[in-house]
């Protein structure tokens, strides 16, 4: 479904170019749910954005369905296969477009027919119902907004969904709802997920396999079962697992980066 080989992503021009991802390689099989975990700034979201064509500066190979992609240009077929759900539902919905306007425009752009019926179906799919159809984002809660964003991503009936920390901006109580919704949708529509999160328990719950990232590099790829058992084969993964189990000073100290000197 998705092949990423030797992907390096950078921002800016030559003299002050910052490379955010170094030589990332991983494959996502059709129907699989693949997770990317790591601390903030480890480049996990950057990988998603490069795949989606939102970042022009990258090298290596990104192939979706065997189709190699180039630069920040993507064709219609790509947009019908791959869609993305963004981290912050407060920033990912146009403040002046109603739910209806967002979905109708998306469906029209994707060349869909029977737009009115599809909007109702989409809203039902994400558990919103038609009462929300003509609301504006400011009339919705964070969880409801994220549901709209998911509906928008599903409008084109994609097969690969890029999930960029879809729950990190939400209240804890709403997070579980959205995760369950995503799990259900994956089952119903046979979707493939590439999910980014800094929350190990979310990844352990949602994913089959995961890649652990540190400072722009993939440290280790392991099955989620191993994560659930708390077994990482590299020191960083072990630290990360230990850190997510609860705060312990002796765990936190070696994790700190850059390492503090003195004392």
């Amino acid at each position: 479904m998705l092949n990423v080989d030797d992907l390096s992503v950078w921002f800016g021009q030559a003299p002050d170019r910052v490379t955010a991802v170094h030589d990332a390689t991983f494959d996502v099989a059709p129907g699989e749910s693949f997770g990317l975990v790591g601390e903030s700034g480890s480049g996990k979201s950057t990988i998603l954005r490069a795949i989606a064509g939102l970042i022009p500066g990258w090298s290596g190979r990104i192939a979706v369905d065997g189709q190699a992609q180039a630069g920040d240009r993507r064709d219609r077929a790509f947009f019908r296969t791959v869609q993305m759900v963004f981290q912050d539902p407060y920033a990912s919905l146009h403040p002046r477009h109603s739910v209806d306007a967002v979905l109708a425009e998306t469906l029209r752009l994707q060349g869909m027919d029977r737009i009115d019926q599809r909007i109702v179906t989409l809203l039902d799919d994400v558990g919103l119902g038609r009462g929300f159809r003509f609301r504006y984002p400011h009339q919705l809660s964070g969880g409801q907004r994220q549901r709209v964003a998911i509906a928008r991503a599903l409008a084109a009936e994609p097969r690969l969904l890029l999930l960029d920390e879809p729950t990190s901006a939400l209240d804890v109580s709403v997070q579980a709802e959205i995760l369950n919704l995503l799990a259900d949708l994956r089952e119903e529509h046979g979707l493939t997920y590439l999910m980014v999160s800094h929350d190990l328990s979310v990844i352990a719950h949602m994913c089959d396999r995961l890649a652990v990232m540190q400072q722009g590099r993939i440290v280790e790829i392991l099955p989620a079962a191993r994560l659930r058992q708390g077994q990482g084969s590299t020191p960083y993964t072990t630290q990360l697992i230990a850190a997510s189990a609860g705060y312990k000073a002796e765990v936190a100290r070696p994790l700190r980066w850059p390492p503090k000197t003195g004392h």
Binding site: M84, R135, Q139, A155
Partner: protein, 307 residues
Amino acid sequence: MSAMTRPPESRRDWLLSDAPQTRRQARLGAIYQGWLTFRANRLAMVGLIVLVVLIGMAILAPWISPQNPYAQNLANRLQPPSAAHWLGTDALGRDILSRLIHGSRITLFIVGTVALIAPVIGLLIGTVAGFAGGWVDQVLMRVTDIFLAFPKLILALAFVAALGPSIGNAVLALALTAWPPYARLARAETLTIRNADFIAAARLQGAGRLRLLIRHIWPLCLSSLIVRVALDMAGIILSAAGLGFLGLGAQPPLPEWGAMISDGRGYILDFWWVAAMPGIAIFLVSMAFNLLGDGLRDVLDPKGDKS
């Protein structure tokens, strides 16, 4: 929807429903929300009322003005305000009230035309520059800088001098000198919007650049532009009056307010009403636009979340 029998709801509830049933209801509801916010601002309402009166005056000018604004009566010149001439007469014995009423048409024409031309040019140039970036941005912004480098009135004077003095040319000159601040504003807004996630999301649906610009970026720039225009209106009226005062705007005997002040200049110490009455009119309308702009800012500010 279906033929359900719902409990009767008032029109207000229907408008304020947070689960509108149709596109139309949602849109009307949003407008009504805005109206409620606007109405809560007393001063803005005062501004709106003054402007509504002004517009009514302009429309009804031939019927409500007590006398012909061009009729001269030298025997009656420079009369103070009285029952026959509520606001007095000017140096040629013309009724000042009638001239003010007819002059409101000219004021509205100036304001309306400049308000249509300048922000549109500014919006186009600013959003294109901000969205395209690179050399397009550089070129458009340097042109804007050149226009900004001249004092507005001086540049307008140069335009009018080149085009010939008339009210139409004065308006054109004002519009051509008024757009650069709008372009700057629109560009700044665009720069903050263009990297927003909702633009990225629209791109991921295959939205082209033109669609992103018109459907996604313009609506967000428009509100701050409208507020800015309303606040700038006072300045535009004053500039137009200034051009009229300098004899480069409306030509006699047109009852343009600025030109009327200019006519009264010679008698300002002995016959104060000749210059003061149009001055008060300009002041009232300018202030009304400022108050209106303030109220619109509350309603349209995209950051001021209503929820």
